[in-house]
């Protein structure tokens, strides 16, 4: 197979620096390889790597591709369960939803590109995650996005936010996959490092599952889709660079959603022929990582000739072709002799499918340029021998300085004004300005559009539907990495349950600062412990995910921000539950320990951040009761499945009053709500702290549900069975007023249309600036 020696190659092919120059001038450092890593590469090769090989090592061993900081920690996640058909390790995870059907999903970050070219950065993030899903043989049916930006009073933040949203919409709308949900949080901690995490969900039959494995000696390897240009060379390396602007050195990729739509259709048609051995999308580190990973999974080798790769630009050398991050490309291994099948299908879609190499059995990734060897590296050296770090983790001092007592906050004289102000905070306000820019309805299966606790999408040809959500709360994870981790998973699952869905599995996007700082690494480890524990308890294994580190600028790290993407199953689409209040006369209940809600305080809450911004990082997060949470969720699910719920909405950002207000606004209905603590308190009057904790605290898992009066008996029987606290607190009114009193004293008497104005218009009015 080997056609010429490496020395000849140097002379013959390119004018790239020699291996000696790479060593002597320490060129590897500019690629992001450390001295020790370079030495290790020399050892593994038993010679000095040439320029191309050095480039290949550097991207494969970058944080982005090798997960060298995080890999060990990620092993703590539970990944198994009867529903799991494909766990982590492939392009996307897959869970069974019965009837021979399965759902594939994954979430991925595109934070660094977005910081410097928000439209294209966000757009190509969406493009990448869609490829991950259709690579598995699944038809993408829904997208979600989880976003973090600085505060909107900053012009540059508004630019980043507006362009990112436009880019996400631009890609998803064009390709015809509905964007059905997500979240947006605004906090100055993200001003320099916005987070854009995109999630894609696809549907498939069990027999369509494709994987990214290059097996079968002699099988042809094809590159399909877009031509290769000099886009984003070394993007993977720079994604791990401290300063996102360092990435400017490499070109940012421009996405072509039209091309991807064709690629998607062509690939699904190709996979359906049964002639595909393996298929993998080309994301970070392009041809290099896709080929190495495919060979590694099969324990095989690959020989590729870059001269056969269709290029967009002239004069591209092997280094550039191997490292290009041009979008909308895939690597496909076909059965021998089936090349024509691929070519025919791709021709119909006006796309190229070009054989560029073969599968071998010698475990080598061999790159030729017109038959001449340009690089030759054992696949195992790139993948299995990639560095694995034991980063130092140190408990940050700030955690021990957090105060346990309640912050001193004056009791507001006007709770309605307080509530309106909270509702107008961009993090809490309606995200309609965002999701109206997304086509959330294409495919005509979106039963619950953005705006409820979770989105719900129908499964054609069945009675089933799936519920989808992303959730994360960086400030809470910062205040308590472990408990914050628990909460992130619990909240995602709770949102699914509130829509009537049984949570199935998790995909996670772990966004953190610089892992070389022991304090940041501690946050990472401890929060993963929290996430893992909650996933275990809620029986939602992690089936796919993504890690984004080095979200840091000028020495300031973002909050540790794990984002949880979760999918749940609704067996009967007639049993979907939404969050808006429905009928006057429906009874309102709070599920969960209300008595604790009085005492848990406002630590970690949006309310504290609003009232005392300086104190918002100084008070402890209330502790979280995971067992209680599990029972609460099982109870809600049982209620939903028996059709007892008219609405359900969990208490999250902003606390209980915000939850009431949102259900009132979206339902266009007021309510009469009365809490009665007098008896249990033996007449002692409620204190100001307790009132604030009840109204604005975010410490205790609570869900507000409404039900028809005749359901009362069944609801409380089930509550006894599941040992959860259920308190009837009021009724949905026929007037548009939300009235809330505690121990017979009226605190809130709000016109819901006024609340609506505050809530609905807030982001739009910022964006008019």
């Amino acid at each position: 197979m080997r056609q010429s020696s490496l020395n000849e190659n140097e002379a013959l092919t390119t004018a790239l620096p020699s291996p000696e120059m790479v060593r002597e001038q320490k060129i590897y450092r500019t690629f992001g390889l450390t001295d020790a890593e370079y030495a290790r590469a020399v050892e593994l090769l038993a010679r000095e790597p040439n320029y191309v090989e050095t480039g290949i090592f550097s991207v494969m061993w970058s944080e982005h591709c090798s997960y060298k900081s995080s890999r060990k920690v990620l092993r703590r996640f539970p990944t198994q369960g009867p529903q799991v058909l494909q766990g982590p390790g492939e392009n996307a995870g897959i869970v069974d939803i019965g009837d021979g059907l399965a759902v594939a999903f994954k979430i991925e970050s595109h934070n660094h590109p977005t910081a410097i070219e928000p439209y294209q950065g966000a757009a190509t993030g969406v493009g990448g995650i869609i490829r991950d899903v259709f690579t598995m043989g699944a038809r993408p049916i829904a997208l979600l996005n989880s976003l973090r930006f600085g505060e909107l009073d900053h012009a540059h933040t508004r630019y980043l936010f507006a362009e990112s949203v436009a880019g996400i919409g631009g890609y998803g709308n064009c390709i015809g996959i509905p964007t059905v949900g997500g979240e947006v949080v605004f906090d100055n901690r993200y001003q320099q490092n916005p987070l854009v995490n995109a999630m894609c969900v696809g549907i498939m039959t069990h027999d369509q599952i494709a994987t990214g494995s290059a097996s079968g000696v002699g099988n042809p390897v094809l590159i399909v889709g877009a031509r290769t240009g000099r886009d984003g060379i070394h993007g993977a390396t720079f994604a791990s660079a401290e300063d996102p602007h360092a990435k400017e050195r490499s070109a940012v990729q421009v996405g072509d959603p039209f091309m991807e739509k064709l690629l998607l259709e062509a690939c699904l048609e190709l996979i359906a022929t049964g002639q595909v051995v393996g298929i993998q999308d080309m994301g970070a580190a392009g041809l290099t990582s896709s080929s190495a990973e495919m060979a590694s999974r099969a324990g095989s080798g690959l020989t590729l000739d870059v001269a056969l790769v269709p290029c967009r630009e002239t004069g591209m050398n092997p280094y550039e072709i191997m490292l290009s991050e041009s979008q909308e490309r895939m690597l496909v291994v076909m059965r021998q002799g089936a090349e024509e099948v691929a070519k025919k299908i791709f021709e119909k879609w006006d796309l190229q499918a070009t054989v560029i190499g073969r599968v071998t059995d010698d475990g080598m990734l061999r790159v030729l340029e017109g038959g001449v060897v340009a690089a030759e590296i054992p696949v195992s050296a790139l993948v299995d021998e990639a560095p694995l770090l034991d980063r130092l983790a140190l408990r940050p001092a700030y955690l021990d300085e957090l105060r346990e007592d309640a912050p001193v906050l004056a009791q507001p004289s006007d709770f309605v004004a307080e509530l309106a102000e909270l509702l107008a905070r961009p993090t809490i306000a309606s995200k309609q300005w965002v999701y109206d820019q997304y086509d959330s309805m294409v495919r005509t299966e979106t039963f619950v559009r953005p705006g409820s606790d979770a989105a719900v999408v129908g499964i054609p040809g069945t009675k089933k539907a799936i519920a989808l959500v992303t959730d994360g709360n960086g400030r809470q994870v910062y205040l308590d990495p472990y408990e914050g981790g628990l909460r992130a998973v619990a909240e995602a699952a709770r949102n699914l349950v509130c829509s009537g869905a049984r949570p199935l599995a998790v995909t996670d996007c772990l966004n953190y600062g610089n892992p070389e700082k022991p304090e940041v690494f501690y946050q990472f480890e401890r929060s993963v412990d929290g996430l893992a524990t909650a996933c275990e308890a809620l029986q939602t294994p992690v089936i796919s995910g993504n890690v984004s580190l080095y979200n840091e600028s000028n020495g300031v790290d973002i909050y540790p921000t794990p984002v949880i993407g979760m999918v749940g199953l609704i067996e009967d689409r007639e049993r979907i539950v939404t969050s808006e209040w429905k009928m006057p006369g429906d009874e309102i209940y709070v599920v969960g320990a209300l008595s604790h809600a009085l005492l848990a305080g406002v630590g970690g809450s949006e309310y504290l951040a609003l009232r005392q911004p300086d104190a918002s990082l100084k008070y402890r997060l209330p502790t979280f009761d995971l067992e209680q949470e599990v029972r609460l969720q099982q109870y809600l699910l049982a209620c939903a499945q028996q059709g007892l719920l008219q609405s359900a909405h969990d208490v999250s950002d902003g606390g209980l009053l915000v939850t009431f207000a949102e259900s009132a606004i979206t339902g266009g209905r007021g309510a009469e709500v009365q809490f009665d603590f007098a008896v249990q308190r033996e007449g002692r009057a409620i204190e100001s702290d307790e009132l604030l904790s009840l109204f604005f605290g975010e410490g205790v898992s609570l869900v507000v549900i409404t039900a028809k009066p005749e359901s009362a008996g069944a609801l409380s029987r089930l509550a006894n069975e599941h040992q959860v606290a259920l308190t009837r607190v009021g009724v949905v009114a026929s007037t548009p007023f939300l009235r809330v009193s505690v121990d017979r004293q009226l605190y809130v008497h709000a016109d819901i249309w006024q609340l609506q104005a505050a809530w609905r218009g807030a982001i739009a009015s910022w964006m008019k600036h």
């Binding site: 410097i116 070219e117 294209q120 877009a226 240009g229 000099r230 886009d231 400017e248 070109a251 940012v252 990729q253 421009v254 996405g255 072509d256 039209f258 091309m259 967009r312 630009e313 041009s326 979008q327 006006d350």
Partner: protein
């Protein structure tokens, strides 16, 4: 003085221009066979007043760098015309 700045923004050569590619393809389908390349960019006309030609140059360059283009993927040229 009143100036009309004509600003031409194009994608950098190395950056993919999907729009240009699609149009090129369409022109071929319409039998414009001799077309070898199409790049699509933006054309902006900005009318402004400035104290001097030099200031006009400064202003136009400023707005191009700050707002009208993103140097990561685009480049621009411009002309000034007395308006």
């Amino acid at each position: 003085m009143d100036v009309l700045a004509k600003i031409y923004v194009t994608l950098k050569e190395s950056v993919l221009d999907p729009q240009g590619a699609a149009v090129s393809h369409a022109l071929h389908a319409l039998r414009y066979d001799t077309v070898s390349d199409v790049r699509i960019g933006k054309y902006m006309e900005v009318t402004l007043s400035a104290g001097s030609e030099q200031e006009a140059h400064q202003l136009v360059r400023g707005m191009c760098d700050q707002l009208l283009t993103n140097p990561v993927i685009e480049k621009y040229t411009y002309e000034l015309v007395e308006a």
